[in-house]
Amino acid sequence: MANMSNVLGLIFANMHEQTVPDLTKIRAMASVPFGARYRLIDFPLSNMVNSDIEEVGVVTKDNYQSLIDHIGAGDEWDLSRKTGGLHLLPPYGNSYGIYRGRLEALAHIKPFIKNANCEYILLSDADVIANIDYRPIVDFHKNSGADITVVYGKGTYNAEQCATKTILSVNKSNEIYDVLVRPEMSGEFNVSLNMFVVGKQFLLDLITDAESRNLYSFEVDVLQHKLHDMKVMGYKFDKPFFQIDGISTYIKSNMALVNKNLRDAIFDSDSPIYTKVRDDAPAKYGIGAEVKNSLIADGCVIEGTVENCVLFRGVKVGKGAVIKNCILMQDTVVGAKAEMSNVITDKNVVVSEYRTLSGTEIYPVFVNKGATV
């Protein structure tokens, strides 16, 4: 098994925010709430820790207040360490401005990468929900002699989804021979999970070269344009995953967790997904509560009817309220006799008594953080 103490993890907190603009208006992609008690960063961060990676940098751009609040010093992921541990890497200096792409983001943190005591770097975005062991991937990278290893998954996507993805052609020897960036096409494809393994020096050289040529897109300027100058390998991840590429995938991925096999695969008890602890009391069901096919976090108080819903921590559903096909984020309060279907509420939303709110499956109602309806 790979020695992971020489692997540095880097998580890009702000990539893909344009795919879910409602959810990322006030927060980084990495702190988008998911699965009743998690935020998206919990998945790459926990996966890295479970794979014995001991040092992780989180690269942020803007809107990172809630992210900092969430990860703190990294205690919950056991990343509050004497050596290594968690490093938050907010934008630095004033000569660059806000970065335009992954290569520029990496250029901003070049001193951090240089100083890191590592040989390999695992880059990951925060748009994929999966339980991934990175150890065999790092082994694969070393054994194949690759310059860059791209982790990919196979799935069927429509044109709108593909317009957010990087699509790979991989031959029988696992070499990537073609890269399409955000093509508008539909069908079954190998899609990049936006996780890459690369040697430290190789990455530093790429960054330096890109800086001198004013290039900033890793996908276009490196994977696509330099594909034939390097050895780029694909590692197929064949366990369940969700890649957030729009609000409809976001809803489907949340709801998919009602499936026990999927839930067991993603929240494997041998490689648990950690998150910030809130010390809520267990969920309380009152008289008249009726809950079907739903995921409920601690701290909820339910006195109404809940069907096909995902309720985050501290959600209150009043007496006689009926909610169906909803995702209600932390501390949403639904008043008595209110009725809702196909609604997403952001944190701290109050829905008044007797209110009716309904969206449709393809066009859900989204209620902003802190709003009173």
Partner: protein, 401 residues
């Protein structure tokens, strides 16, 4: 090492066996017994300390300390991993003068005088590790200082008919304690000690040393230290506590205290964010209630999967209730599985148990004619009950059936 002075250090008595909880305390000390869906009993006094601004806590352990030690760890879940102070587990130890177990509550504190003296405190709080309540010890400390007392004892008014089960204080109109009686047959008052004491440290230390040197003494706060203080004319005052408080030392009281959490009229609000009860949180996904689940009047923790019927029950993390299983008026501790068609009524089921398909545990009191034979059925931890087995009311099971 230089220790920063602390005004008040808390000493938490957590060494008791809890023999009246039988199977539940076979492998763990009473304060480590799971309570209320995600807690262990000790979370209540520990959280009270933190919420009261007491950041230095000694936890005195003796009986079966493994689970408790592991649970407390470095104190991080309670914010008690501190540079100065924090939580310290204090087991009995061997010294140059010999070795000895903690022979009584007073002896346990006596053996840790040097731990307390490191922080040079003015006051110490002595707390029991087996009560469920929310209390601001800081308000009690203010009361102690204002009264210029040598000792302050928290008291609760109990119904007169129950008074003989408690340590009973008699106090004058100023709240000064004039008499103390441990479980008196004919109580003169209904002010019961809650097992929460604040002492001015130097005076208590003097009494602990004297008590230790008295060979006939039983080294106990209630039996020796409090009477000795009264005898010497020390000022002991009663601090009236109003609110929910429950000793969970018996099966019935443990069951009742859990059920109290389901009663909206019981004043113990676990959802109050201003006085959180902290605990070591399980790392598990949200709980799932399926298409076939029916759940009412219950507390359900993360990691549970429910396909069956649950009413008036408390389910801890990772409990699985399979299709057609019925759980009523029961407490199911972490990671236990209730298989298809099993019925669990008026029962406490320990951690990591498996109740086989169609098994029947416990019985409703209405279904029993001779009420003396009825009681809560108890399964200890890691017990497997085979399919279709029947375990009657009041049973106490710690081996596979």
């Amino acid at each position: 090492m230089k220790h920063v002075k602390k005004e008040c250090v808390a000493m938490l008595l957590a060494g008791g066996q809890g023999s009246r909880l039988y199977a539940l305390t076979k492998d763990m000390a009473k304060p480590a017994v799971p309570f209320g869906g995600k807690y262990r009993i000790i979370d209540f006094p520990l959280s009270n300390c933190v919420n009261s601004g007491i950041d230095t806590v000694g936890v005195l352990t003796q009986y079966q300390p493994l689970v408790l030690n592991e649970y407390i760890g470095n104190g991080h879940p309670w914010g008690l991993d501190r540079v100065h102070g924090g939580v310290h587990v204090l087991p009995p130890y061997e010294s140059s003068s010999g070795k000895s177990w903690y022979t009584g509550t007073a002896n346990a504190i006596y053996q840790n005088i040097s731990f307390i003296d490191r922080y040079n405190p003015e006051y110490i709080a002595v707390l029991s590790g087996d009560h469920i309540y929310k209390m601001d010890y800081n308000a009690m400390l203010d009361f102690h200082k204002k009264n210029n007392a040598d000792a302050t004892i928290a008291v609760l008014e109990v119904p007169w008919e129950e008074a003989s089960r408690f340590g009973i204080m008699t106090a004058d109109e100023n709240g000064v304690i004039t008499e103390f009686a441990e479980k008196p047959a004919e109580p003169k008052s209904n002010l019961a000690s809650m097992g929460v004491y604040i002492f001015s440290w130097q005076n208590l230390k003097k009494h602990l040393i004297a008590n230790e040197n008295d060979e006939g003494a039983s080294k106990d706060f209630g039996k020796n230290i409090i009477p000795a203080m009264l005898g010497e004319g020390n000022k002991l005052v009663a601090y009236h506590f109003e609110g929910y408080w429950k000793d969970v030392g018996t099966i019935d009281s443990l069951w009742e205290a859990n059920m109290d959490l389901l009663d909206p009229n019981v004043p113990l609000d676990l959802h109050d964010h201003n006085w959180r009860i902290f605990s070591r949180n399980p790392v598990m996904p949200p709980h799932y209630a399926s298409e076939k689940a029916t759940i009412e009047n219950s507390m359900i923790s993360e990691g549970c999967t429910i396909d069956g019927f649950v009413d008036f029950s408390v389910l801890f993390a990772g409990v699985v209730i399979e299709e057609g299983a019925v759980v009523r008026d029961s407490i199911i501790m972490p990671n236990t599985t209730i298989k298809k068609g099993a019925v669990v009524e008026y029962a406490i089921i320990g951690e990591d148990c498996v109740i086989g398909e169609g098994a029947h545990i416990g019985e409703r009191p209405e279904a029993i004619e001779d009420k003396d034979t009825w009681g809560v059925a108890v399964l200890g931890h890691s017990v497997t009950v085979s399919d279709k087995a029947v375990i009657g009311p009041k049973a106490m099971i710690s081996e596979n059936v």
